[in-house]
């Protein structure tokens, strides 16, 4: 296998990626493109980023050998505990990186979009930390189903604006954030929360999240005497936690990468967010990727029980991992995810975010050898999803 999972100089992973943006955003995105690698490689930047990850976020997060779960699955299962990060999910790794970048680009204001609210909370948090103005766009329906996160953002000093168009969820929040950015292109940095959007966002976010697989390698070496697991499993909405968990393993073909998508009520039910199963090549929110759309190119409204996964596309890196068959993509239905989340709670005393439950459900669908080392990226904690668990019942 060729080692071609890095973005090329035009911002493409294979045939996916690019920067499909209105001219009004060109100077801003171009400035970011020219500057981001240099800034991220600057030793001073790195030191500040690492210091905040350690002392503010609480990294490294544990790599926990889940013994009771392992016994049930029939493999050696480790959980990468991103749920133990400050703010409760992996999202903060990226927002810490981007807020430091925004400061170096002399931006004064921050905008973001959020689905489940985890990225919004992580953005509001770093804006409070740095004393920067923050506006978060969130679908009106998501604001309703993720109320605690809306209030957390407000307590942190952010303004939460409702996106009222379309399905009133993440896709529409992203549209509104892009519109805001088009109207305020000079003083505003848009902290995109996943590995989506125009180049260089997918690459930049993947690099900020790559701390996850970097730590996994070190921790596995300590605990197992080898850097590489047999499997890495992570859920994919846009795909930032999966990009981070896969990052240092993409060019190691002996490590099997498994991405789980939200099947919703079933891939063929018309109520799904399983992009690789139902999507085809298209352009949305600044990049060419796999996209759920009609024959005429209109974006199809996605559905998932998880507000963090109901996005109609995936990041271009993931589209490339799928297209090149480097990663296996599985669809996990709502009930399979909920059952997996409840199972983890009972076996290990960890209530996972419903997003992460989609990754855990893969354990039930796959066949392992007893000696296999499987790492599941537990991207976030379930506090925000209690209402969803309660409504589901069955515990």
């Amino acid at each position: 296998m060729e080692a071609t999972f890095d973005v090329n100089d035009k911002g493409y992973y294979g045939k996916f990626g690019g920067a499909y943006i209105p001219e009004m955003l060109f100077p801003n995105v171009d400035e970011l493109k020219q500057a981001y690698e240099g800034i991220m490689n600057d030793p001073e930047f790195k030191a500040e980023f690492n210091d905040l990850l350690k002392n503010y976020v609480g990294r490294p997060t544990p790599l926990y050998h889940a013994k009771r779960l392992s016994e049930s699955v029939g493999a050696k299962v480790y959980l990468k505990r991103e749920d133990l990060n400050h703010t409760g999910a992996h999202k903060v790794n990226n927002t810490i990186g981007q807020i430091l970048l925004a400061q170096r680009l002399n931006k004064k204001k921050i905008i973001a979009e959020t689905g489940a609210g985890q990225h919004g909370v992580a953005t509001a948090t770093v804006c409070a930390l740095m004393g920067m103005e923050c506006i978060v766009y969130m679908g009106e329906i998501d604001m309703e189903r993720q109320k605690p996160n809306v209030e957390r953002m407000r307590i942190l000093g952010a303004e939460v604006r409702a996106a009222k168009s379309g399905s009133k969820t993440l896709k529409d929040a992203t549209n509104e954030a892009m519109r805001h950015w088009i109207q305020h292109p000079t003083d505003t940095h848009y902290i995109i929360g996943s590995v989506v959007g125009p180049h260089p966002y997918p690459d930049m976010v993947a690099k900020f999240q790559s701390v996850i697989s970097e730590e996994m390698k070190k921790q596995l070496l300590e605990q197992e005497g080898r850097e590489n697991p047999d499997y890495v499993i992570a859920c994919v909405g846009g795909g930032s936690n999966a990009a981070g968990a896969f990052y240092h393993y993409m060019d190691r073909p002996e490590v099997k990468l498994v991405a789980t998508e939200a099947g919703g009520l079933g891939v063929d039910s018309g109520k799904t967010a399983a992009t690789t199963a139902k999507g085809k090549e298209g352009v949305l929110h600044g990049s060419k990727t796999l996209l759920m759309q009609t024959e005429d190119g209109q974006v199809v409204e996605p559905y998932s029980i998880s507000a963090g996964l109901d996005y109609p596309g995936i990041g271009p890196l993931h589209a490339h991992l799928f297209d090149s068959e480097r990663a296996q993509f599985l669809s996990i239905n709502d009930d399979e995810a909920m059952d997996a989340g409840i199972k983890l709670s009972k076996l290990e005393g960890i209530i996972p975010a419903v997003e992460s439950s989609h990754a855990l459900a893969a354990l039930e669908k796959m066949t392992f050898n007893k000696e296999d080392i499987v790492v599941v990226n537990l991207s976030g904690r379930g506090d925000k999803d209690l209402a969803t668990y309660i409504k589901y019942g069955k515990y």
Binding site: P22, E23, T186, G282, G286, G297, V299
Partner: protein, 258 residues
Amino acid sequence: MNRIKSAFSDNKSPLLNVYFTAGYPNLNDTRTVLEALDQSGADLIEIGVPFSDPVADGPVIQASNDQALKNGMSMKVLFEQLEGMRETVKVPVILMGYINVVLQFGVEEFCKACQRVGVDGVIFPDLPLATFVEDYKATFDAYGVANIFLISPQTTEDRIRLIDEKSDAFIYMVSDAGTTGARKGISDAQLSYFERIQAMKLKNPRMIGFGISDADSFQTATNYAEGAIIGSAFVNAITAGKDDIPTAVASFVKAVKQ
């Protein structure tokens, strides 16, 4: 293409380009609006191809896009509706839309259909210049379809020169940072931007769009460019006048051009 060039060379007075959304307010209103605009004195006509996620547009145009999609509009239906339009419509016709819809239709099929029905140019706000030049320009050129590019107050001089070099219709000057329909009136900062671009002596004519809504803003803008583009205000006008579209269109154009 030639129709766009002729429009600029024939006319001494400022040109009015009017945008409307295909299939709005009703699916079969496209030709009614188009022909009424042609007869009322619009100098160029921009037909919006509706898209589910029009991020460069404001709420008025987005709402018209949503309604048009609900009505059943698609690229295929639009080309069927435009079949034979050149028997009646004389002015240049431009399609404005988002690139995903064209990619799904097929770029070459799209260009072929434009040539067949007599569409002269296209505007895709989310198709960057470099991608167009590398991947699509040859196809568009082969079918004589001009691609019109936007510039904004933030566009650098070098890039404006590059866009001017790659263009052969007109330059679409976005009047200020913003989506369509976001602003009313013209500020001093905008005037100095207009003057700056005017002083660059570009080879292509310029049309100013975004924030142009009435006779005042049209006249102010066209002191600094060959013409101006009105979108949201016109969509509002046909929403209000949907029971008698020809009259609504005629009175709108008359009021702007005075």
